[in-house]
């Protein structure tokens, strides 16, 4: 394992006694694509601005290659930012925008030209170098902003919701391009977004932030499949939540009472220590649920009965809203595959709900 490029130690930030970040510690590895994910107001942008130097922490340390950089102004930190609004200099051409950082360092003209041309080729803007930013499309402006930051060869590139102003299709394309760029250049990216899909599809690791603290750090898969709190589960993707208690427990299985049924579920390494009669949340992702026709199944002892209330056709999937007997509404997503080619559900139909045991997440409930 390489030494971390950035180490954040017990970083806190408050504005007029109003805490925005609380005791955040984080290691960013060299060459990784790290995403700070969270709803607005969770402190993710503040954390980014603390790293770039535009904000000063109330306490804590930020180390870049082992050296504390908290005392350094932004212009002397070896990191660069891609701003949400791009903040391109409107009076300069694309070339001059990208060359700006190098010119500030008083690099030789010929060398600047070479570096800028190289960079513009990387972001596929070499044909537009003489244009002004307003003569470019949103996606092209975005690439100029990235080139302007990357041409300085930063140790870390910070991106503050850079794709949020692009339309859906362009955003998808830029996600792929950004990821490819990051792999190609091997530069560490710290990417801020509130879009969980974006975070999952681009990152090596995701830092989920909640109310100024880090809720969970992990690979996209860990974050999605084994969230460590209800907040994380609810923020990332859709999730069905049952409030229940542990009714029985042994070395490798537990029993939960759900909708009047006793469900026997295996214990695995992700499940924390549980006790009998402990209140817990049972979390189920919509796509993990199987919805069976009444006639399709025999053994229904560990299935939940319900009625189809809404059928939403989405092209590649069908979303079902199912009302359980208790009145609780459940979202289930069914895929077209060889087992289920037509997915013919009708409103009002009685169905059985099932999932592969072990795919659920059980979290202790804080009372």
């Amino acid at each position: 394992m390489y030494p971390p490029v950035i180490e954040i130690e017990q970083l806190s930030k408050a504005y007029h006694d109003h805490p925005v970040l609380h005791d955040v510690s984080l290691k960013v590895h060299d060459g990784e694509f790290l995403t700070l994910l969270g709803p607005s107001g969770c402190g993710k942008t503040t954390l980014l601005r603390l790293i770039s130097g535009f904000e000063l922490p109330s306490s804590g340390a930020i180390k870049l290659h082992g050296k504390d950089i908290v005392g350094l102004p932004p212009e002397r930190r070896h990191v660069n930012t891609v701003f949400q609004s791009y903040a391109l200099f409107p009076h300069m051409t694309v070339f001059d925008n990208v060359a700006f950082g190098l010119e500030c360092q008083k690099m030789a003209k010929a060398q600047i030209k070479q570096r800028v041309d190289e960079m513009l080729a990387v972001v596929k803007l070499d044909k537009h170098s003489a244009r002004k930013p307003t003569e470019l499309s949103g996606g092209q402006q975005q690439r100029v902003a990235i080139a302007r930051a990357l041409v300085n060869h930063p140790a870390v590139l910070l991106l503050d919701e850079p794709l949020s102003s692009l339309d859906y299709r362009l955003r998808k394309n830029m996600q792929i391009e950004l990821k490819q760029l990051q792999r190609q250049l091997g530069i560490t990216f710290i990417f801020v977004t509130h879009d969980q899909e974006e975070a999952l599809s681009m990152s090596d690791r995701v830092v989920v932030m909640h109310e100024g603290m880090i809720a969970q750090i992990g690979t996209p898969r860990e974050i999605y499949e084994t969230p460590n709190s209800l907040a994380v589960a609810k923020f990332i993707g859709e999730v069905n939540v049952f409030e229940t208690v542990v009714s029985a427990l042994d070395a490798n299985a537990m029993t939960l009472q759900v909708e009047g049924k006793s469900l026997h579920l295996p214990l695995d390494k992700h499940t924390g220590s549980l006790e009998i009669s402990q209140p817990v949340h049972l979390l189920l992702r919509p796509e993990d649920l199987h919805v069976w026709d009444r006639t399709e199944v025999q053994d229904t002892s560990e299935m939940l009965p319900g009625t189809v209330e809404e059928v939403i056709y989405k092209g590649s999937t069908v979303d079902l809203i199912i009302r359980l007997h208790s009145g609780k509404k459940i979202l289930a997503t069914e895929f077209f595959d060889e087992n289920d080619e037509d997915l013919a559900y009708t409103k009002g139909e009685s169905v059985w709900l099932e999932w592969k045991s072990g795919w659920e997440v059980v979290l202790p409930r804080e009372s």
């Binding site: 770039s52 932004p74 701003f83 409107p90 950082g101």
Partner: protein, 284 residues
């Protein structure tokens, strides 16, 4: 709908007639006056001539023109030096402080500038506040002779015209995306580099607009040189006033006025062009 169109008609017609009566009509009268001359006493005996413009090229008038330009230019620079930092500071303040300070900068414009001119005389005279202060501080041993010098005229002009520089500059700076300065710092720019490479080019429209607003009045505010300069430094404005009020040569006065307007045309065009470029650059 009907009431609306009536309202629109009234607005348009009243605006147009205002421009016609108070701008176009006087201007054309001035142009007309500048190219005619009396042959005999009486209203009807006029004939067309270019002699007033020819007169302007006498050394005496050229000297006045040159001195006026110099004074006005110094005044523009003075206004810039005061208003630019002020506008910068204003734009960074919280909204409340911003509005209060802006109001304080503008309030003097609501009082008679003649009165303020007399106040300036009281400040600058040999036994005035300024000299008393410097004497008390021991910085000087004899009162400085400021009043009735060019320095006093420049101070008076700058003081009177500064708000005309401040307002366009301030509105220009306010419109800038503050992220641009963060982006510049992020790229490693020093304060000086941010000023010269980002701030100055982006505020050029405001600088030009303010300069034009200050430049023309600075050449024609005749009572300021009269009061503060002791009538020693004759401005174009004094010349025009004298032609109209004392000499009675309205035609020569008009010719000077027309020449001033012609002088302003390239300045206005420069201003217009820089604003158009800035607008094109800021279109999202």
């Amino acid at each position: 709908m009907k009431a609306n169109s009536l309202f629109a008609k009234i607005s348009i017609y009243s605006a147009c007639s205002w421009v016609f009566v108070f701008a176009l009509l006087p201007l054309s009268m001035m142009c007309l006056l500048s190219v005619v001359t009396h042959t005999k006493p009486g209203i009807l005996y006029y004939h067309v001539t270019g002699m007033h413009y020819h007169q302007l090229f006498q050394l005496l008038y050229l000297r006045v023109l040159f001195r006026s330009l110099l004074l006005a230019l110094t005044c523009v620079v003075g206004c810039l030096l005061v208003a630019y930092p002020l506008a910068l500071v204003l734009s960074t303040l919280p909204l409340y402080a911003k509005n209060t300070l802006l109001l304080l900068a503008i309030i003097p414009m609501w009082t008679s500038s003649l009165v303020r001119c007399y106040a300036m005389m009281a400040l600058l005279k040999a036994k005035g506040l300024f000299n008393t202060l410097l004497l008390a501080l021991g910085l000087i041993h004899q009162p400085l002779q400021i009043l009735f010098t060019n320095t006093a005229v420049i101070i008076g002009l700058t003081y009177n015209l500064m708000p005309f520089m401040l307002l366009p500059l301030y509105s220009n700076i306010e419109r800038l995306d503050k992220c641009l300065f963060e982006a510049a710092r992020d790229c490693g720019a020093s304060r000086w580099q941010i000023l010269t490479r980002v701030l100055l080019p982006l505020t050029m429209p405001g600088i030009l607009a303010g300069s034009v607003m200050v430049f023309l009045p600075a050449m024609t505010l005749f009572y300021i040189p009269d009061l503060l300069g002791g009538a020693k430094s004759l401005l174009l404005g004094n010349l025009i006033k004298d032609q109209f009020l004392f000499v009675g040569n309205w035609s020569l006065g008009s010719a000077i006025g027309v020449m001033l307007s012609v002088l302003m045309i390239p300045l206005l065009m420069l201003c217009w062009r820089s604003q158009r470029t800035a607008m094109l650059e800021s279109v999202e």
